[in-house]
Symmetry: C2
Subunit: 386 residues, 2 copies
């Protein structure tokens, strides 16, 4: 039983595997703070083969975690990529050994702002150091070391998970054979920086956030976090999906009530997204992780050219975007592909036609399954995975 | 001096013209509540001609008001359509008599939730009755009566102002010659209902909102209203405009600070939008007006067909949309135009190419000026305006 709280109701839950990293030497974060003896929570699925060449690292998005499949210990629901990962599924655990860790800064057992700072015996809160996508990836590399894997067969992830994939491919190009950055970008756009700022302001506007000290004060910024999630959720779906699914349907009523209740189904849906989120996610983690995403920029503020960043890469790339994704629009993937083409990298690009928006990579999109299945089995044959 | 507060600093300011309407007979709002002896604040510009046929009613958007030009008494800045209205400008006050009233439910002197309920001597707050776009327009018609104008030459407005234009054209088709609905839709979309719900939830999450009773308690939900405005503002501009104007520029710094300050210029810009808004707008008005916009649906939940709604109309329509507007996208205007074409209405449609997003109708877009100038002078000649 991990002694930590999970969600607004302060439940304690059993977390699977946790490894302590940074034992031998501290890891210096990009912000300059060295960290050592910190926990990283992870899960594995399938079996590492004798050649140790069938490992796939899956990187989760902003509010995901290590529970890609199976039953999630906090929500009681299937993991976030249950439809993609498992025996006979596109990421086939009969063939591949799948690793997914909870990124640092997050809240499912890894080093994050709700964990206890040994120096004070209290939750880190805003004393937690700022982390970046690069830091997340360097910690994942320590985990891969710990698991005794020299080179990953593939690194796969969508959204902020896709940023981690790109960071892997550029920081540790010799440690992976294939990379699938999905619905992502080489840098966070101005509009997405703006959306994340709104979310953070909503949380910090809630007096129950207590300047980040809500755990010590036994409060919880329910409302602020719910508003942040609602604002984010609209960006995860498409205009046409909302119109087709909800339109102007009323919620359990025939007429307008002339009030501020959720008259419309889409309002009720959105409120539900907010309320259920506060039961599983830590508000300070939301602040830190959105900050990390906003800081992400492979071109380092224009100091590096993408063609230099990817020059000479031997990684095989499978870039995927979704036509109705307006958060990480296809143009972002095309920019990535253009840079990869300019260095003669091995890259395929598929823009999948769907009206499901950014969340398409999490949803039932058969063409996406087919792309992933084909890429993984084709690459595995080339790499010599049995 | 109007005895009312304006904005978070509770300033009292001098409001121009205010007329008391509903003196002879009450007006029954769509929600069923009758109202009488209620104030409507308005401004006029230019001179009504002898034929009384040169009047243009301008309808403002969600947070606009009657100060289309001149100096705004609260902000000290030029009115919201200063670039469009005035001598020699597209809506030429040398030729036209321009009327703009503050919609009911708003907060610049008209009947709204911050005004005093005579029955209690306190601000209405959440006891204010729910209003609709149709109610706003029926009140405007009373103002037009009061001004002694039988038929308006034109009704013009963008966004929620455009909804009012459509309501005028369908409810009082004999009382206007021309109509210019700009950057609007025949009904609020699911996505826009969702965005407004986020704004309301942000305000209502702020404990200083005091269940709508902040005026009596001498509080003010600064933070909630600012978050609501930030979330709305992102929808007013385009992705490409944000990218070109701000990109990933840092605000007065060379490096990331690894903190939650506004490292990025776009964050600073957005915060400024929030902070300045609370100095001029009433939080409860924001709740009521977003509710009214969400309720807007010319098809009455599918009970009416648009072709029936517009059947036989003699009004001359000038429909305008902007290519980068994703809040009221061009497809919404095309749907309107299709219905107008299907009843052989007199309609022109211009989609203007610009990267300025929804706010294009308020910004420097010369092609838009040219469209308005042409439409108004052409129609005026036909209508016999001197």
């Amino acid at each position: 039983m991990v002694k930590s709280y999970f969600g607004a109701s302060y439940r304690e839950v059993e977390i699977g595997e946790i490894v302590t990293l940074g034992r031998d030497a501290p890891l210096t974060l990009e912000c300059g703070v060295p960290i050592s003896n910190f926990p990283l929570a992870y899960q594995t699925y399938g079996t590492l083969n004798a050649k140790r060449n069938n490992a796939i690292l899956v990187c989760h998005a902003l509010t995901g975690d290590q529970y890609v499949t199976g039953i999630h210990p906090v929500t009681g629901k299937p993991g976030w990529w249950d439809r993609m990962i498992g025996p006979g599924k596109p990421i086939d655990t009969n063939r591949f050994f799948v690793i997914c860790s909870n990124v640092i800064g997050s809240c499912m057992g890894s080093f994050g702002p709700k964990e206890i700072d040994p120096a004070t015996g209290k939750a880190w809160g805003l004393n937690f150091p700022f982390i970046t996508v690069s830091d997340m990836v360097r910690v994942q590399a320590l985990l891969v070391d710990y698991l005794g894997i020299e080179k990953l067969f593939a690194v796969i992830g969508g959204s902020m998970g896709g940023m981690q994939v790109l960071e892997w491919a550029t920081r540790f190009p010799e440690r992976l054979f294939a990379a699938a950055p999905i619905a992502t970008a080489t840098r966070q756009s101005a509009q997405n920086i703006a959306f994340h700022e709104i979310g953070r302001q909503a949380i910090m506007a809630d007096p129950d956030w207590c300047d980040g000290d809500y755990l010590a004060q036994r409060k919880y910024p329910h409302k602020g976090l719910a508003v942040a999630r609602m604002a984010a959720h609209v960006t995860y779906v498409s205009q046409s999906m909302l119109q087709e699914k909800f339109g102007r349907n009323l919620q359990d009523r025939e007429e307008y009530t002339y009030g501020f209740d959720a008259d419309f189904s889409v309002e009720s849906y959105l409120r539900h997204q907010g309320v259920s989120f506060v039961e599983r996610f830590d508000p300070n983690s939301y602040l830190y992780l959105t900050r990390a995403a906003s800081y992400f920029d492979l071109s380092q503020g224009g100091r590096a050219r993408l063609t230099d960043v990817f020059a000479g890469t031997k990684v095989r790339f499978c870039v995927v975007s979704f036509s109705s994704d307006w958060l990480y629009a296809s143009v972002e993937s095309r920019n990535l592909v253009r840079a990869l083409n300019a260095v003669a990298a091995n890259v395929s690009f598929t823009e999948i036609n769907t009206d499901k928006g950014h969340d398409s990579f999490l949803l039932d999109v058969p063409e996406f399954d087919a792309v992933m299945t084909g890429f993984l089995h084709g690459s595995a044959a080339m790499y010599g995975v049995d």
